[in-house]
Symmetry: C2
Subunit: 212 residues, 2 copies
DNA sequence: AAGTGGTCTAGACCACGGC
DNA sequence: CCGTGGTCTAGACCACTTG
């Protein structure tokens, strides 16, 4: 790529401005910077599906694999929080959670079964209004009036159960990926916990890391 | 945290300098920045094991789980590259690769079985000299005179084979994580492909993503 | 309204890599 | 040696959040 000074001349901005822009690209692994040498575009990025560590953004994950993503709501309900959920979501025992079960498709093929539990106390709109086909980001914005600011994803290997197997159209008993996600809001409080059963026979889960 | 202006005053540096420092922390999810509000330390980071997307750095991964890491060389040899390796490493058919098989321990418990294949043509020192207990970064620096600049890791779920099961002290047939890593050098050419069998019953593989 | 982080300028010097 | 990116300064204004 052109050097920083060339870019700042051509674009009519200061070098500092060019640098902050390039820094963002570099942070996502899109370009590689080498002191004393130059800046290069990262030709290997296309090989990865989750460029920016967006493990929790299932829509992007499917797109990154070159498929057209779509979401289908399986069920929405409310129930008492389990002990695990009480712990993870910082609830009082006996509090209720909203349960979203959704199925993600890649080109009309089911690939991810996503279960989410969200504290009922955060819900700002009627439960029945929830449009389960939306992006999780928009669901939180619209019905919970919350913004997601942090996600922690734990990746596990597990054996596919009968129920999930049927939903995904895969014989149960197979080895499959499980992404356990905890989402946090702007106030640093937990918004949701989720379990995503991920058919890694169809979708690749690959990450880039650019070295300093 | 103190505001940028406070920090720049206290530390006697310009605000721009403070900003670049904070930007690095934010990129790794260690702090959260909110325009119009302030900068906050991310208390949830400690829940993650691989903060910086370092999926290929197994030593850091083990440390992140709170264990003391150690490496034991199982075998080092050379052989013809497989077809897959020819493709992934951009070799000619029939070229040879150096094969490193290593076992990673967490507090003296085997947790990761790592197989690496590196083009023999890159080797700059005698094969026998290789110290398999070193960090992969140092192995490349010392014996191949190469620096790792990019890594792409693909995460899969698989069934544990008999051989790997024995090495890891786990009964074979279990569901387990497989990390397939491709390392690239400064010149953007592939340095190595690796398959890491990862016992996720002991080690957690968790990642943070800070939202913008 | 006051304070925060986000963006930007126009300079300067340093550390590194390739030739 | 020269050009590259890395670091740094001392200002300025804007966008946003909170009280």
């Amino acid at each position: 790529m052109p050097s920083e000074s060339e870019l700042s001349d051509e674009l009519g901005v200061s070098r500092a401005t060019v640098r902050t822009a390039l820094a963002k690209l570099a942070a996502n692994g899109l370009i590689l910077r080498k002191q004393g040498d130059g800046t290069y575009v990262n030709a290997h990025v296309r090989e990865a599906s989750a460029h920016f560590g967006n493990l929790w953004d299932l829509v992007q994950l499917i797109e990154g694999n070159g498929y057209k993503p779509s979401i289908k709501l399986v069920s929405v309900s409310k129930r008492r929080a389990t002990e695990k959920e009480v712990l993870a979501l910082a609830l009082e025992t006996g509090e209720e959670v909203v349960c979203l079960r959704r199925l993600f498709y890649a080109d009309d093929q089911p690939v991810i079964l996503a279960d989410n539990a969200i504290p009922l106390s955060l819900l700002k709109e009627p439960l029945e209004d929830i449009d389960g086909n939306l992006h999780i980001r928009d669901i939180f914005q619209r019905y919970f009036h919350q913004k997601i600011s942090l996600a922690i994803t734990e990746i596990r290997s597990t054996v596919l159960g009968a129920d999930a197997g049927q939903r995904l159209g895969v014989e149960s008993g197979k080895s499959i990926l499980q992404l356990q996600v905890t989402l946090y809001g702007r106030n640093n409080l937990p918004l949701a916990v989720g379990t995503n059963i991920f058919n890694d026979a169809i979708l690749r889960l690959s990450l880039v890391q650019a070295w300093v």
